[in-house]
């Protein structure tokens, strides 16, 4: 990650290195932003956002069951997503089940996961064998 950032900044090696960086950025377009994107650097967080893309909101209990993460790890993942404004977490009341913690995707989250998956799809098609 830091390597990419150094390269983008030109670094100590001068203009030749910057040109190479730009060339590679063209070929691997978007990879830098993907790999340095903290909130979507874990498969669980990608799964949470991808699933919420389909059904908009879910309960914390269902998330815990589906992603199969301990409560603390899930809380941490949600905090990261919340910090990036990808999800909102609120207390709600379900007719069947009573009071629950409800996790809801935001428009920013929808856009982020769509872009992430589309970019991955394009890069994988372009660069990975098979």
């Amino acid at each position: 990650m830091a390597r990419h950032q150094d390269r983008e900044g030109g670094g100590p090696e001068g203009p030749a290195s910057t040109e190479r960086g730009e060339e590679e950025e063209g070929r691997f377009g978007g990879l830098t932003s993907l790999s340095s994107s903290g909130p979507l650097s874990s498969s669980a967080r990608v799964a949470i956002l991808a699933a919420l893309l389909a059904f908009r909101h879910t309960t914390f209990t269902e998330l815990m069951l589906a992603v199969n993460l301990p409560k603390s790890s899930l809380n941490m993942s949600l905090a990261i997503l919340k910090e990036n404004k990808f999800v909102t977490v609120r207390r709600g009341f379900l007719p069947v089940g009573g009071p629950r913690t409800i996790v809801e995707i935001t428009p920013e989250g929808e856009e982020a996961i769509r872009d992430h998956l589309m970019l991955m799809q394009n890069l994988a098609k372009k660069l990975l064998p098979g």
């Binding site: 990879l31 498969s43 669980a44 799964a47 991808a50 059904f55 589906a66 589309m118 991955m120």
Partner: protein
Amino acid sequence: MSPARSSPDTEERVEEGDSLSTLSELEGQRKEAGDIVYRWFRFRVRRGIGVFYCLLSFLPVIGSIMGTLFASQFVGVAGASVALVCSWAVSRNAGFRGFGRMSSTLDLLKGDGSPEGRRWGTVQTFVAITLWPWLAYGIAGILGLRALQILFAVLWLVEYVAYRFLTLSRNRNPLVDHRAEDWLVVVIIPVAALISAAGVLASAPPFYAFLMVSPILLFCGMKSLYDAPKELVMDIGSPPR
């Protein structure tokens, strides 16, 4: 840094290799996320189906009560139809919500999708296929056109089975699989309609044949609800890719 790595070509190759390895890592992460989401979607859909079958088992009871109370077949059919729509809405909240979007999200995770839900309409098609023969059957019953009633019951059965076969052969990674209980429900409802229309149970009220399938529907619903959490821990032989 070694002298060999200071050559611009070598450095470029190393950086390209790093980028490819990062990409492979991200690709692995996407596949892992795809597995989680696939199991999760199947769990939700199975839960929705379970709730739907359970609620469906109460429809004949509601229809019978309304038909008897108001001494009118029209009220019975209308009551059962309204209850059917309500059951659909409840089960949609329990698991069907965003069914089309689930399919397109899976496509995106597999790597061959578009950002929009291109399968929009799957559920709507199923509802349309399911509802019209029932309404036609009910109206024919109210008008006392027994031959048409039988025809619509047969059409209903053929449509159900054809739809199931078509979706089974076209869908490579189905969110809904075709279990014994699903086939049982698909066959048993039109068959009950056929029995009722054909007057096999001549001395019984019109809803009697449907009342007899209620316990079977309830059993199928309970089984689906019991099986739903198993989807979350299932072993995906060929994951959605």
